[in-house]
């Protein structure tokens, strides 16, 4: 079996949003609809430190679909549009999506984005990989782990374009993969572990 996953080194993350823009570009994500974005932990705005001068912290948390083993979004999807695929990814069948947004409410990570209107692309002609499906008004979308790339043995675009190599992509079912080793050997952080969603995305420093 294959269980594709992503490990993110928070020490190496400089909050630059290259992952957000690489993803937007590759997947033809519309304006204002990022599939992954980097939050400044503890702050409502980007790049504001937390604490009192000079005792401060500024930690970045890149956040996209966690590709959970036990996805809350999938459980509530009434049509089966959201599914866990054979590679271990959480995917959306856009043709089956009826836009009920139950998944959006269920996802504890708030990483799903909905096409409230026809998506706006700038430039209008769009961008990214030619095989990425077009999404229209009324359809939910989110990180696919660059399905079109990972199906072909390539790394997701966020991993390729991270300037500090903070992202490690691999197969958790392969015990010899770097990502399996990281999960075994490092202290890892799982977001909202208590929710029981069992994310396949994990963080380390």
């Amino acid at each position: 079996m294959t269980k594709l996953a992503l490990a993110i080194n928070q020490k190496r993350c400089i909050g630059c949003q290259a992952c957000a823009e690489a993803c937007k570009m590759e997947n033809n994500v519309g304006m204002g609809m990022l599939w992954t974005r980097t939050l400044t932990e503890g702050s409502d705005v980007m790049d504001a430190a937390v604490g009192e001068f000079p005792n401060l912290r500024m930690d970045y948390l890149p956040l996209g679909c966690q590709h959970c083993e036990n996805p809350a979004c999938q459980k509530v999807c009434p049509t089966g549009a959201t599914y866990k695929d054979e590679m271990g990814r959480v995917e959306i069948d856009y043709d089956k999506c009826i836009g009920c947004r139950m998944c959006m409410a269920a996802c504890p990570y708030n990483v799903r984005v909905f096409n409230w209107t026809e998506p706006v692309h700038d430039p209008e002609t769009g961008y990214g990989d030619a095989t990425v499906p077009v999404r229209h008004k009324g359809v939910m979308e989110k990180c696919t782990l660059c399905k079109q790339r990972t199906d072909n043995g390539q790394k997701p675009m966020c991993v390729v374009c991270c300037p500090t190599h903070a992202r490690v992509f691999g197969d958790l079912d392969d015990p010899n993969s770097e990502i399996s080793r990281l999960k075994r050997e490092r202290t890892v952080r799982i977001l909202l572990e208590e929710m029981g969603t069992e994310p396949q995305v994990f963080y380390f420093v």
Binding site: R12, I14, G15, G42, V45, A49, F53, P54, L56, R57
Partner: protein, 802 residues
């Protein structure tokens, strides 16, 4: 996890009301010009388009020069990723490079040549033909040359609308002025050149050696937000056990990632360096063997005159690096024979310390003089603590770590403390620290700017030669001096890119000068801040657009030769810089001296090189420069390009200035002791953003989702003025004003403000950053390699809620 509760406020799409209005006005005035939407609409339905892949070297202005792989579909740029023909560590891109997918098509693109129809600064234009634009420009140049002479024409080519960075023809063909001293990024270098040679900021060893260091002291360098693709080297070093220490008034991203952050009062960095120096000398933490063998510390100085005690019958081969005067062989005191010997006498055992009477003159070693100097000026950790606001023990510990902790770097950025009145003092003091501790010319040690300009082996690329009769104007006038001149000899200006608001401070004053010019034409890609002041505007191509298949050739900062091919056709009516220069040159019959095409230029450079066009094209446009397989052993031989070939610490040429050794000077304006402080009590600093290179990328709607003009303010200063995050804030001083959004940030020290470098003025509600910056000059720097620098950060302001 409060950060996850809501989407970021800054992720909502910002609207730039003024920007939209200004762009609209331009559109109306120009009449019937294509909008991006029209331009991009497919002419007709076509069959499934095929992807085409091309390769190019991207920005040189951030100094990264990433080699990119670009995908086009139906003639339009749709994807950019790292060029996978480079070595794995050099397969790089950042958020700016990625955003080009939209940025090249941005609404701010200049679309057609324009002629000004309103007042200068008003922004009223009408569209004209290229023929009319070129003829108008050429006629204006001819008229100025006739009326005032060749040197009345100023010509400056900035980086963005210039694909072959550093390559320009017309300025020399016209023998125009291009400005002498540049005034940017050489503040520290000014204070270092006499010590280690020209290009003192470019240490000749690689940043890839950082993991061999124990300590990396970063001052004024925010590598995690500027040269982001090099930040990996910092993390590699930390993972290998190096301690990264960041000195910055602000809690920057790099400060947050460091092992230690030392907040410092803005502009007081030289006091920290002098304090560390005092500690190291007092505690005896210096490397005596290194100082004796490789520096000028044992050289003798005549106490009375302060001049180096030298043998005037023994001139050295290399003249003084600044004055050009002959330098003579210095004496050292030989402890074996108890007499003066030439410093390079292999038999002599030079004393590091002491004073003697020789030839009836009292002489003293430079090291002893330094000790006395420190005592005379009262430099100590306690003194430095008072000025910098850093705890005395922190300064002592920092000196200990730097001197005794193992191999160490001082990495200074090109911003921050480099842009204060006392930057030369800072550079000189850092040089002395380095020389005292022997942290130079060995792996894991060094001093300079890292992360951008890697030392590369000679590429072997040729050059395009012009006949000798063509050369730059030679009056040596610095551009930033022009508004201060009584009878300014410049009457006609041509710039590629916005030199006038980016490469000068105090924009109100500078633009008043621009208004006095008989003629000003600009070639630019976007509607930058200065466009509205131009008489003729010429739309330039980006580095992606070219009418021919072969495009720019260059060495990249990472050690490759890159030959770019066309990614897309020129958008709108834009032309490449080579085309524009050729068209103007043709009006003078001078185009025959220029390459006819980028391909001819590439052929000329490749002719006697180790590469061929075919090899480059077959290898995705890149070939590793031979000799780059191993890291360079810069200064490993401890031979310096100075007259003595030693690391020279004592600057005899600055005796009259009182700066033979560095003397602390406070910032000229940004100082609480300044009388202006009562009225303008906030120290205003600017620096790099990850989302722009200076103002470039301002037009990117993708990046606008993250950033607009905003000023970071401390919670205390904001509260005192009733300011909240997102409020409009009026920033002002006696030079000018602007309005920008407030970001209340606990990472900002009370009494200071921080703003990312300027963006196009159309994105502000009113004014723009450069209206408040300081245009004072440090006269002392006229005695230095690079002259006075622009003091962008040496600025006081007041703010209020707008």
């Amino acid at each position: 996890m409060s950060g996850m509760k809501s989407s970021h406020a800054s992720l909502t799409r910002r609207t730039f009301v003024k920007g939209a209005v200004a762009a609209g006005a331009l559109g109306v005035a120009a009449g019937g010009m294509a909008t991006t939407a029209n331009w991009l609409a497919p002419a007709q339905a076509v069959a499934e388009p095929e992807d085409k892949v091309t390769y190019m070297c991207h920005q040189f202005h951030c100094l990264s020069g990433c080699c990119l792989k670009c995908t086009t579909r139906d003639g339009r740029l749709v994807k950019i990723e790292p060029n996978d023909a480079c070595e794995e560590r050099d397969q790089r891109i950042c958020v700016r490079g990625l955003s080009e997918v939209q940025h090249v098509y941005a609404n701010d693109r200049l679309q057609t040549p324009l002629k000004r129809v309103g007042e200068r600064g008003e922004g009223k234009f009408e569209a004209i033909s290229w023929d009319e634009a070129i003829k108008t420009v050429a006629d204006a140049i001819k008229e100025s040359q006739k009326k005032y002479g060749e040197q009345s024409v100023f010509y400056r080519k900035c980086t963005e609308p210039s694909v072959a960075h550093g390559v320009e023809w017309l300025v020399q063909l016209l023998r125009a002025e291009s400005g002498g001293n540049w005034g940017l990024d050489r503040g520290h270098t000014n204070g270092l050149v006499p010590a280690v040679g020209y290009y003192a900021h470019l240490y000749s060893r690689s940043i890839w050696e950082w993991p061999q260091a124990s300590t990396i002291l970063m001052v004024g360098h925010n590598i995690c937000e500027s040269g982001m693709t090099y930040a990996q080297c910092m993390f590699d070093a930390q993972e290998a056990g190096a301690k990264v220490i960041v000195v910055d008034p602000r809690y920057s991203v790099t400060a947050a990632k460091a092992d230690q952050w030392i907040p410092i009062n803005p502009g007081t960095d030289p006091a920290l360096m002098l304090g560390m120096l005092a500690v190291i000398v007092e505690k005896g933490w210096y490397d005596e063997d290194f100082a004796k063998a490789n520096t000028s510390f044992p050289f003798l100085v005549e106490r009375k005159s302060g001049k180096i005690f030298a043998d005037e019958k023994a001139p050295l081969e290399t003249p003084h690096l600044i004055t050009g005067d002959t330098v003579y062989t210095a004496y050292v005191y030989d402890t074996k024979t108890k007499s003066a010997k030439h410093y390079d006498d292999k038999e002599a055992k030079a004393a590091l310390e002491g004073s003697w009477t020789l030839d009836g003159k009292e002489v003293v070693t430079e090291f002893t003089l330094l000790k006395e100097w420190i005592a005379k000026n009262g430099y100590s950790a306690a003194w430095a603590s008072e000025i910098t606001g850093i705890d005395e023990q922190v300064i002592i510990d920092l000196a200990d770590q730097y001197a005794n902790g193992g191999p160490a770097y001082i990495d200074f950025g090109l911003g921050g403390p480099d842009k204060y009145y006392n930057a030369d003092v800072d550079g000189h003091a850092m040089g002395i620290l380095t020389a005292l501790t022997g942290n130079y010319g060995k792996p894991g040690t060094g001093l300079g700017f890292f992360g951008g300009i890697e030392p590369t082996a000679a590429s072997g690329l040729g050059a395009w030669a012009l006949p000798e009769e063509f050369h730059y104007g030679d009056t040596g006038l610095a551009m930033y001096e022009l508004p201060d001149m009584k009878d300014c000899p410049i009457h006609c200006a041509i710039t590629f890119g916005d030199a006038f608001t980016l490469e000068a401070a105090n924009a109100n004053k500078f633009l008043e000068w621009v208004k006095t010019l008989d003629f000003f034409a600009i070639a630019d890609i976007y509607h930058s801040s200065v466009i509205d002041y131009a008489d003729i505007v010429m739309p330039a191509c980006t580095k992606f657009e070219c009418p021919e298949e072969i495009y720019h050739i260059r060495e990249t900062g990472m050690g490759y030769v890159s030959l770019a091919t066309k990614t897309i056709d020129p958008l709108f009516e834009s032309k490449t810089d080579l085309e524009i220069e050729r068209l103007i040159a043709a009006e003078f019959g001078l185009d025959k001296y220029m390459p006819q095409s980028y391909e001819e230029y590439a052929d000329a450079l490749l002719k006697d090189s180790p590469y061929t066009k075919e090899q480059l094209l077959a290898n995705q446009g890149v070939i590793r420069i031979p000799g780059m397989e191993t890291l360079p052993d810069g200064r490993g031989d401890q031979v310096y390009p100075t007259p003595s070939t030693k690391f020279e610490v004592y600057y005899e040429n600055l005796l009259e200035q009182g700066h033979a050794f560095p003397v602390y000077d406070p910032p000229i304006e940004s100082d609480p002791n300044n009388e202006k402080f009562a009225e303008y009590p906030l120290q205003f600093m600017q620096g790099k953003s990850r989302f722009r290179i200076h103002a470039y990328f301002s037009a990117s709607t993708w990046l606008q989702e993250f950033i607009g003009p905003c000023v970071n303010i401390s919670p205390a200063d904001a509260a005192a003025r009733g300011i909240k995050t997102g409020d409009d804030m009026h920033v002002f001083n006696d030079r000018g004003e602007f309005i920008a959004k407030a970001l209340v940030n606990p990472g900002i020290k009370e009494g200071t403000l921080f703003m990312f470098e300027t963006t196009y003025n159309t994105y502000y509600k009113d004014g723009f950053l450069q209206n408040v910056t300081n245009d004072a000059h440090n006269q002392r720097c006229y005695e230095m390699r690079h002259g006075p620098q622009i003091l962008y950060n040496d600025t006081l302001v007041q703010v209020e809620k707008a």
